[in-house]
Symmetry: C2
Subunit: 621 residues, 2 copies
Amino acid sequence: MTFINDTSRSSRAQVRPLALENVKLSGFMSRYNDLMRTTTLISQYESLESTGRIDNFKRASGKIEGAFKGYFFNDSDVYKWIEAASYALIDNDDPELSEKLRSIITEIGDAQSAGSDGYLNTYFTFEKEAQRWTDFKNMHEFYCAGHLIHAAIANRRSTGEEELFNVALRLADHLVKTFNKEEREATTGHPELEMALVELYRETGNREYLHLATRLIDNRGKGLAGADQYRIDHIPFRQLQELTGHAVRMLYLCSGAADIFLETGDETLLAVLDRLWNDLVTKKMYITGGVGSRHAGEAFGEAYELPNRRAYSETCAAIANVFWNWRMYMISGDGKYLDVLERALYNGVLPGISLDGLKYFYVNPLEDRGTHKRKDWYDCACCPTNIIRVLTAFGGYMYGLTLDEVRVNLYEDSRALIPFRDGEISIVQKTGYPNDGNVELVVSTELDMQFSIMLRIPEWASEDFELQVDGIKQKLKAEKGFVRLTDNWKGKTSILLELPMNINMITSNPLVRENTDKIAIERGPLVYCAEEEDNEGFDVWTLSVPLKRGYDVRILEELPGEPAAITGKGIAYDLDDWRNALYKPLGVTRSKGKNVRFTLIPYYAWNNRENSAMCIWLHIH
Amino acid sequence: MTFINDTSRSSRAQVRPLALENVKLSGFMSRYNDLMRTTTLISQYESLESTGRIDNFKRASGKIEGAFKGYFFNDSDVYKWIEAASYALIDNDDPELSEKLRSIITEIGDAQSAGSDGYLNTYFTFEKEAQRWTDFKNMHEFYCAGHLIHAAIANRRSTGEEELFNVALRLADHLVKTFNKEEREATTGHPELEMALVELYRETGNREYLHLATRLIDNRGKGLAGADQYRIDHIPFRQLQELTGHAVRMLYLCSGAADIFLETGDETLLAVLDRLWNDLVTKKMYITGGVGSRHAGEAFGEAYELPNRRAYSETCAAIANVFWNWRMYMISGDGKYLDVLERALYNGVLPGISLDGLKYFYVNPLEDRGTHKRKDWYDCACCPTNIIRVLTAFGGYMYGLTLDEVRVNLYEDSRALIPFRDGEISIVQKTGYPNDGNVELVVSTELDMQFSIMLRIPEWASEDFELQVDGIKQKLKAEKGFVRLTDNWKGKTSILLELPMNINMITSNPLVRENTDKIAIERGPLVYCAEEEDNEGFDVWTLSVPLKRGYDVRILEELPGEPAAITGKGIAYDLDDWRNALYKPLGVTRSKGKNVRFTLIPYYAWNNRENSAMCIWLHIH
């Protein structure tokens, strides 16, 4: 069974996930799921081939000649594709994709077999063999190893096949043999392997993997990976007071530390994670759930440094934010982590891929003049291959289980068959979420016993959601992001949850100075933006929206997935007086603006037509 | 005579400057002038010595052994120091500084004499000799040569001595011999040499130097310097539509092209310069006159991309802005260029050096949380050594001359003795400018003829300046930034100019979205900021100042130079509700704020006490 993380035996996991096989999607996210299998995975495979990423393995096994192609970390893209393809093939018999997957796995195995010690990285072959494990700071050997392990676990869990898994085991054992000894200290220049080793421990029970993961964390700040802040190697992990350095590295590191805590219960790690998470949500996260304020170093900025136009907000960093918050949720059972996860997923990850599944954003600005363009592929393709493994895994995040609880973490039109105690529970969700807030859940089970069904109440709904069980209104308050329904559920029960899909106006901490006197509009879990394409005759950057209501919602049928747009009457500044000036004395030319009709679209749907200006934070009047 | 630029024979110079020797400062800028000679130049000399920059010359001449130290462009810092020291020694008999200057010049000459062909760059010596002139893109041989030529010209003009000048001539002739032939095309990876070669042409009359400068410009966009936008080598110079790439490179290039236009009258160059200058002032310049919006690449951003907190605004780029606008003024005689020059000088260059002359800023943010710190020196010391050559040269920018005009470009308590036609004119300025707007000019001359005295009227004063000549009010309008007084000035005349020192509230183009609903306060030519040090009990980032007047001015006696502060009653947001949140629904916690007394100081004076938060753009109510 394909668990995103198999925390069923993790001593500190309050919640464990449901396997991917147990959930069938049929709503908003199922469109992405299908798109991955039918379009994105195929197109990405072509890119992996045409850019030499697959040839690099053939070269390593001696099948072809020539030079290594591309970046030294390009193996990882192939591994991430395998992870996603493995998820996508669950319950979907797709001969073309299966064949591609099988053939890549063979190439990977052959590349490893060219050597005798289990080492595998196609960059460090032939003339570069002597340089293996000599540069933790700059080279991504650990990082690529981690992605191979993740791919292999996903492939084994979803197919039951051992071929790639055995390759990963050989590499992991090579790692253990090389680095699980006192005289050979190591840490990661780009964290990732920590998560992978813990998952491999979960898969095998071999404590050597957990031990190595722990050593990688314990060894930070000793200068083994450059001693710099960029790689978060400037101080020991436990001394970190704030999120800093390269955003993806930082949050992968937090995710790995959370995984280790889940297994070891080392409270000194949790203390750091709590501190850093507070730093995230009170000082360093975009409203989109994206992180990384600086282009220079793809890095976290200082507190409240959240530039909109020059946001870096790498798609991979939003994905890392999903990973980390997922683990914090498994640790605590607290819905506040799912709030961040959901925010990052819909508004930080989804904008990273076009609605047709063929183009990507690496950088995700919160406002733009129409110059930021999606690309088919990137030389550094970390984001495209990261998106696919998250979107194909969505079902695995939807439910959480404890001994006496079934938790609905995320809403999506879907059917789930949940193994529980010695029976099973079926939950059918009927909903247009995230565009609609009504969720009908039909719970069916033969289990004749009391247990709780817990429904997540997102923070934005906590004051005014409504709930009926078999037509009877329930007056319940959400606690830690969930309402608990405890009952004997034998038979069939209909639960109706109404999450209020209001137009919510969000303000920003005054220390984020560029957002003062502006608001962002959210509806449900979605952050909205104004894009020039929908707003003719004025500049969306000057749009001011009314504080008093008067907004309508309409479906944008011309866009794939038919996102729900928000419309209304606003004011746009007149720019005519400003064509030839940057600065003017106050009062001389203060524009009153003109009345306009505006349309806002979900941020995830932006830049799917012509390039045009866009902004999330809007003026108000 | 020490002309900053000797455009007296330049065919397209409408205005030529007065020599440094003809002006004696005694006001605001004289404090900096004295500081340079007594403190900054001495302290920088020690840094040049202790960092091996002087030893590099001794090594090149074989006097000492060891490796080259520091960056490959470190020679340029020594040259810039020489240029500044040469200016500083005019009319100031300073044996210590003179001795240092003489000894460095000897070392430079000896380093050149170690070879036979006039080449001089201490990095490309011994084992690196074979690499000379092989990498225009990355190495700064042309750049260092340019600074040597500037230093040599300044030294010759101010002392009459030929030693360093002959060194520069030998190098220049080596350049001409190497690159003024069709089969050896070249351009500069870091423009600077263009300006230097034109000035050397002005100094010698040798057209080979002008020819080479022209070739360097004409060769851009051919890939000789990397073909990238960063080095502005992606397209030919004449095809540039906007300011782009590395800010200092871009504006040095514009300055060089302006110099070439001054000599050749090539209108195709002026067309580019006009276009780029409009781009500067309507889309890409900070209110401080600083430029360069991006840390990544120290580069220009897109139109209206002017982040305050992450402004790069390198001190050198503001200096380049002074150079370029000075040349545009000489070309056109239009005061609008002096407005930018003055803005950049007081608000872009001056903040780059501490009030005690011992610390520097390389990067100049327009708002900060108290983390940005001045340094004693930088490994890449371009800014410190650039500041000194501008501040020691201030007097050379003060006056402009044409055949029948004496133009007062800049105001400063001072005495000038101006050679004019076959006589001379004395102008004594009595003024507290830039802190005070009253300027009394006493004009004395024996010349018995009609000519114009033109007084610059800064744009901020153009509507309400007042003017008296010998006690009689003059009703005149400024044209192209100047009022013209035409008369026979024989004898002694008193002119009283009153520039209105109002508190001016400046707004920003609405497309600079982070400045919307905010103002900047200017008084005279100075941009003001709120610094935490002067504002206890509230966070200056939340300060809102009143639109209606009610401001006072008081002198800050505790700071060197005694800047004029602005005080008033404002409102500061309450941040208590925001300690633990980045985003909140509107209305739930909108803070009313509390009444506070605020103090604003000139931006040039910030960060001269403890590090503390600062911002230029302020909320209003």
